[in-house]
Amino acid sequence: MSTLELINLQKRYQNGYEAVPGLDLEVRDGEFLVLVGPSGCGKSTVLRMVAGLEDISGGDMLIDGVRVNDMGPQQRDIAMVFQSYALYPNMTVGENIGFAMKLRKTDKAVMATKVAEVAALLELDKVLDRKPGQLSGGQRQRVAMGRAIVREPKLFLMDEPLSNLDAKLRVQTRAEISRLQRRLNITTMYVTHDQVEAMTMGDRVAVLRRGYLMQCATPQELYHTPDNLFVGQFIGSPSMNVVRAEVVEGTGGLPALTVGSQTIQLDDAALAQLPGVRGMIGRSVAFGMRPEVLGDEGTSSIDVDVELVEMLGAELLVHATIDAPSVKQTDEGVEIGESNTSMIVASMDARIRVNAASRMSLTLDTSRIHLFDLVTGDAIGKAKVDVG
């Protein structure tokens, strides 16, 4: 039952590296917030600062409105699940779960019932007397969870707790953690670099890049209205196809997009989504299409040269080239591909027949496309709406 506020939070490591230049983020009471981003973007750093394991170089951190910058981890009343689980190897499962309570001099009987309760909840009752070394990976993971939930802390912190599990167990445990969090209703901050995990588990997802917050929103918002090119490309798998396009004046004075040798006319529905385009005529933009939008329904279409077709069972991945340079957002900024052609991927219904090495026309719903500024990477439609 707690809130967490990060206000211009900063972290500079001893070697001078600025891992977090200034982060504003709020986690609401009972919320499941996922921190996601590529490797090295500072997720663990933020989480460890919240835990009190890493000194805070600047800014403020408030838990329930109380500034905790100078408190040690003991005083913050948080629980953390580590990637490696960090179980105490010399203690049994029961002792591991009860350790924090023991340190707080909890009554023995109370402690025993609590441990039993948690063990039952996590199906660990049969292994309570074992040492961590004698457990399977999944069981260890659950002990780590048990150690955290037994205390009913203000905050739950988890740093990639699933990354040491095999794929199947990961999916299963993912659901379990979500269920558990909802049931206990404890404010949670969860770190992962896996965007599928982020999308499925989080009430809201915060995307980090080099210590900067790129966007913090619900999974739906992130997916459908990314604030910038980075978020657009980071969320979604296969990731969004982005190529360079020019905004030109098309039929009826409405804007159209020139992609390589083709022109795609934007209709009223599309312009309702992307009002900012109107002012962009004559400029280059980054033009994003999600793979599942290509070849689905729509009134426009785009021609491509099919190179390779991958059959995945339920869907078909079509890899094709298009005669426009690719665009992607790197750490240095927006980068335009050197070659004048680029690869794009379309994900289509598996029943459609597609021949490799053929030219084909992919239908496109222009109200589902994304446009980004070629310099800043900001989304064009939404940004203008906000300002205007």
Partner: protein, 330 residues
């Protein structure tokens, strides 16, 4: 280290924690898995197998025999009657075997500096057990601080401590002795605490170095988890680090035990008078005063050797790993 590294720590930490390389890996690998002797066991391999030939193993066994003969001769002699020891080599024992325990009785009844040999045996124990235990624990505390506490100049102080390994103990004998004999040191009369203290001092740099290698390579997440759980440094040290360090403490402890037990110089300088002296002293005295009474010397030497030999043979694997700690790349 040939064996796969599998420790309770690694096992819990899973894939990520298992990959500790370099010197620290050596320490971890070195002191764990006391059930099997990885460094003494040949590992199975296909092509690389024929590195050793038949000729090679004959040479090895010859050297091994050569290395054992002197000790073996002493052992045999110590059971022969005095007259035989003095008139024929021990190798004649096999043509004319006669066994007696008189020599051992003689040694135990023998007086050195006015006190019976058994007193020296007791002194050795009194000197050695604390002399091995005290420095290990002091070093463990320091090693924890150097690994897991943050303080100003930590790394430089540690380098300084390690650098003190260079100081030969002879360098400090005279001033330390003067200090112990000064009014500042209350217990002038009894030399045994002085011996403990001296051994603790000399053991400190190496013990801190080896233990820091071990304690510092415990997975940091376990320590952090304990901090999040609300444990103070003292609790982490007592309840987590010490239990996990038992193998390292044991191996370094054995090392220190042998060193103190076998020491002569420190005891001779700091013990003051024969009454606080260990068996090594009594032996040297006997060599000097009874150089020709071989029946006493052989038995006496064996009595002084018996404890370290038992310790050594029963804990050999630990001991080897203690030596390896920090010195071998894994």
């Amino acid at each position: 280290m040939a064996s796969t590294i599998s420790t309770p720590v690694d096992a819990t930490v899973g894939a990520k924690g298992g990959a500790q390389g370099g010197v620290q890996g050596g320490v971890l690998a070195g002191v764990n898995g006391p059930n099997k002797p990885p460094d003494l066991t040949p590992r199975g391999s296909k092509i690389a197998k024929n590195l050793s030939s038949k000729k090679g193993s004959i040479i090895v066994w010859l050297i091994a025999a050569l290395w054992t003969v002197p000790t073996f001769g002493l052992l045999v002699s110590s059971f022969r009657p005095e007259t035989q020891i003095k008139t024929s080599g021990w190798w004649f024992f096999f043509s004319d075997p006669s066994v007696t325990l008189d020599n051992y009785r003689g040694v135990l009844d023998n007086k050195v500096g006015g006190q019976p040999f058994t007193e020296f045996f007791l002194n050795s124990i009194k000197i050695t057990v604390p002399g091995a235990v005290i420095p290990i624990f002091l070093a463990a505390f320091a090693a924890y601080a150097f690994s897991w506490m943050k303080f100003w100049g930590r790394d430089w102080i540690f380098v300084g401590v390690v650098a003190l390994m260079v100081v030969p103990l002879q360098m400090t004998l005279i001033p330390l002795l003067r200090f112990f004999n000064s009014d500042f040191f209350p217990d002038k009369a009894n030399g045994i605490p002085a011996i403990w203290l001296a051994h603790s001092i000399f053991a400190m740099p190496l013990a801190i170095f080896l233990l820091k290698n071990f304690i510092g390579s415990l997975p940091s997440e376990v320590i952090e988890a304990a901090r999040v759980d609300g444990a103070s440094h003292m609790v982490i040290f007592m309840r987590i680090v010490l239990p996990l360090s038992v193998p390292a403490l044991a191996s370094i402890g054995i090392f220190q035990f042998l060193w103190v037990w076998n020491d002569l110089l420190v005891a001779k300088v700091f013990g003051g008078g024969a009454k606080n002296q260990p068996m090594t002293f009594a032996m040297v005295d006997m060599v000097g005063s009874k150089g020709n009474e071989w029946q006493l010397l052989t038995a006496g030497a064996f009595v002084t050797m018996i404890v370290p030999l038992i310790v050594f043979l029963s804990l050999q694997r630990f001991f080897v790993r203690g030596l390896l700690a920090g010195s071998v790349k894994g």
